[in-house]
């Protein structure tokens, strides 16, 4: 007991023992890891069930009148659904921190790739939170203003949701490189998941076709443009959440490479 007190005063953290700090670290890391599955559930409630943005009830080839009418008739479900969806997207920012905390441990004193993960993850989160705002704007005056305005906001939201894949791809590649560039025999995550993460990043790219096509598999209802990135993103989030929880459960919460923690 007395030695622990000496140790903690020496590091300027009087009052908290090593065990306390470990327990706090463990709980906070589990909390943010669980944001991955939580995000998926909230997305299912908000976007799949209530607002019906996934799979999209509104097609890019629908006329402005059809779009405005849909928003007018489903205004409440869309608004409530958007609250859930937006919450899901905001949790992505929290979940991204979970990945960064995991990889930061091994990356050394200047964790460049972890910083890349964090900035790209934050930029991506900002984008998709904003597109919820655009959908909400479309719902705000649907029926009162000319239908083209409602349609334009709905278009803008999908074009941001799928078309801005770049931060997401860079994020996934940075996470993958974080794992692959680790030359120790014990990377933070199993080595093959580094390749898996880079593959996931490549799979987000087809979302970019939303900018060019109003129908077919490359439009926002299409299998290539919508389903490939979303399904792969979901698997990516859930699997890395699982791996992070495993790391925490193995008691691996408060350690750093000796060279780093000095």
């Amino acid at each position: 007991m007395s030695t622990a007190n000496v140790a903690s005063t020496a590091t300027g953290l009087s009052g908290s023992t090593e065990a306390d700090r470990r327990s706090m670290s463990r709980n906070s890391q589990l909390l943010i890891a669980w944001c991955g599955p939580a995000m998926v559930v909230l997305f299912l409630i908000g976007s799949v069930w209530l607002a019906r943005y996934f799979p999209p009830a509104i097609h890019p080839s629908d006329s402005a009148q059809q779009v405005a009418q849909y928003y007018q008739e489903h205004a409440t479900a869309i608004r409530v659904g958007l609250v859930f969806s937006c919450l899901a997207y905001a949790l992505m920012g929290v979940w991204g921190v979970c990945m960064a905390v995991q990889t930061r441990r091994k990356e050394g004193l200047f964790p460049a790739l972890t910083y890349v993960q964090l900035t790209c993850m934050a930029a991506g989160t900002a984008q998709i939170v904003v597109n919820c705002g655009l959908w909400a704007t479309a719902a705000f005056r649907a029926g009162e203003v000319s239908p083209e305005i409602t349609q334009a906001f709905n278009d803008a939201a999908y074009i941001i949701l799928l078309g801005t894949w770049m931060p997401f791809t860079i994020w996934a590649i940075a996470l993958g490189l974080n794992i692959l560039l680790d030359k120790s025999d014990a990377p933070v995550f199993p080595r093959w998941t580094g390749y898996f993460s880079i593959w996931a990043g490549v799979c987000f790219i087809p979302g970019g076709t939303v900018w060019f096509f109003k129908e077919g598999p490359f439009s926002w209802v299409g299998v290539v443009c919508l389903w490939v990135p979303f399904v792969v993103f979901g698997i990516w989030v859930l699997y890395f959440s699982y791996l992070s929880m495993q790391n925490v459960k193995r008691g691996f919460v408060h350690e750093q490479e000796p060279a780093v923690s000095s």
Binding site: A7, E18, L180, K183, S184, D185, A186, R191, W192, T193, G194, Y195, F196, I198, W199, V202, C203, I205, P206, T209, F212, F213, G216, P217, F218, V223, V224, V228, R250, G251, F252, H254, E255, P258, S261, S262
Partner: protein
């Protein structure tokens, strides 16, 4: 030194490095298992692309055939030959490097890089030809698939050229360890994947009548 305060790192107790692997022993995974996760992931996505293309083609066969007749087969076939030759040289280069011939091995990787560069130039000429002739992704279904699929393939190829540059730098090392060989094999497998996907794209976009 002050580190004894931390509990033991559970990851530090993993077994020591595997012994140097022997050359191409039976049951040896080319590269490492991770690169095959990537390759099969990509094969899955491209299988979807191929299926979508043949399905959509069957729904408007006349239009697709008409559009295909505008295609210049020489560009497509030329690119196939370039990629096949590049694949041969990367395979030969790997073979030399395994037997310690660093000079020839690294030069063969350079030849592959040259083939990849030729592919990009060829693709640039072909794209500009098509656009000059008034064919863009929004012209019709055929050209939409043509531009998107070859574009995604081209992105893969550019990534592969980055991999080749890294492989060249590894190959120039005076002595190769088992980690170097693993990375070289993984890079070679990725380059062959690009070749393999193009073989099918060539058949679907240029040759299906």
């Amino acid at each position: 030194m002050t580190m004894n305060a931390w509990p033991a790192d559970p990851f530090a107790s993993t077994p020591p490095k595997a012994p140097e692997r022997r050359l191409r022993e039976p049951g040896h995974v080319p590269g490492e298992i991770g690169i095959w996760v990537f390759i099969f992931g990509d094969l899955l996505i491209f299988a979807l692309f191929f299926g979508v293309f043949v399905y959509e083609r069957s729904r408007s066969a006349g239009l697709f055939e008409q559009a295909r007749e505008h295609m210049n087969l020489t560009f497509g076939a030329g690119n196939t030959l370039l990629l096949l030759t590049g694949s041969l040289f990367v395979a030969l280069g790997l073979n030399s490097l395994r037997h310690g011939a660093s000079g020839p091995g690294s030069r063969m990787i350079l030849v592959t890089l040259l083939c990849g560069f030729g592919f990009v130039v060829n693709k640039y000429l072909e794209y500009s030809n098509e656009i000059e002739a008034g064919h863009t992704p929004s012209t019709n279904g055929f050209f939409m698939y043509y531009f998107v699929f070859t574009g995604i393939h081209l992105l893969h190829l550019l990534l592969g050229m980055v991999a080749l540059v890294i492989m060249y730098l590894i190959a120039r090392k005076p002595a190769l360890g088992s980690r170097d060989l693993r990375n070289l094999e993984a890079g070679a497998c990725y380059w062959h994947l690009i070749d393999l996907l193009w073989i099918v794209l060539f058949a679907l976009l240029y040759l299906m009548r």
